[in-house]
Symmetry: C2
Subunit: 248 residues, 2 copies
Amino acid sequence: MSVNYKMVLEYDGSRYAGWQRLRTESQTIQGKLEMVLSRYAGMPVEIHGSGRTDAGVHAKGQVANFYLEDKRDPEEIRLYCNTYLPEDIRVLTVEEAPLRFHSRLNARSKTYVYRIEMGEKRSVFTRRYTYGLGKPLDLERMKQAADYLIGTHDFKSFCGNKKMKKTTVRTLMKVEFQVSGSELAIRYTGNGFLQYMVRIMTGTLIEVGLDVRNPETMPAVLEACSREAAGFTAPPEGLCLEQVRYGS
Amino acid sequence: MSVNYKMVLEYDGSRYAGWQRLRTESQTIQGKLEMVLSRYAGMPVEIHGSGRTDAGVHAKGQVANFYLEDKRDPEEIRLYCNTYLPEDIRVLTVEEAPLRFHSRLNARSKTYVYRIEMGEKRSVFTRRYTYGLGKPLDLERMKQAADYLIGTHDFKSFCGNKKMKKTTVRTLMKVEFQVSGSELAIRYTGNGFLQYMVRIMTGTLIEVGLDVRNPETMPAVLEACSREAAGFTAPPEGLCLEQVRYGS
């Protein structure tokens, strides 16, 4: 009888080709984790993430689950992983979960944070985790634009995958802006996000904040259901998966 | 007539041989700054730091001063430096200072922070700026030991330079402990610090926190006036010069 484990982890995505294991030589977070867990279990272990993060994207609270044949001490699993995983991946918690728990299918909402440096140079301590825009942004305009995005919409215009066959309807619950010095953090909470969705929303909001796009055009951008209607894809280094929530 | 400028800067010391310019090929913070400022001024510029930071030590608020022959816009200097300095050195502010202002001689007090990860692995986001001790520490014992260090003492036992000819008497005004998750930050404020002094105090406090040294032995460590009496030198990566204060 197998046992299901839920794991919360953080990673610096800088040197990875993203979450998802690939057939190529590329390094991935999933690949690294499965390698270590399989060694721990003495047999192949597959790990299911709450979602894929793109190449170069970070996580502070990614959630994953995996099955082991025997009951093991969750703290032992955590210590084993942290000993053998590289410095840029850290397991925060491991706990036993109900057999039916699935990190992706059961996720109720996710929060992503995108960090932008508006000053001429990024902080030396957080430079790997912020986008170095180097220009001031008009926050009031950005908030106005973000308000149009909140709610349930077809976010096809904000989807990087043009061949997406499944529904592109998502619910964006909250967009929060937080300024600390010359750094702006935009925090997005939604029931799910399409490929590049947060980065395209951010790129579009940046264009609004730079005054090259009007906040009032946002409904038209949504209605267009076309990637070309939205703004640029903000680079991966500013993005971090902060939290995944479960339960009702 | 020359003009004196005061500069506040931050740096990630990881890849540097410390603050002080060296005759060797090594990279130093002072060397980098002088190279950029000299190019800006069109003539050699010498920069005076509030103190040397060792190889691998970071700064969030290092202060330096330098003279230019002509009056220049401080904001222009700042932008020029940030454009040409590498990513791991950032100038926070530049302002004109009285001609007699000297960043080292006029410093009234300094605050250093030493960060220790007590959990089995360092946060992926701050791993370059914390010491990965990986063991729990008894804070009460450490605070007890730190109390003995506060005040004006001969800190010769905590001086890395055994050939130090000048006075080793210093005043340590405050030692504060701050825990956040499994990370401990020890914040030292004093009127000046000897070579390696913060790192040796930290190493000694860690030994107390690990229960291999008694807090009550601290007066004897101070009285010994011998490097051998104190604990190990904690590694540079956990140390950061946080603030330098001037004025009365």
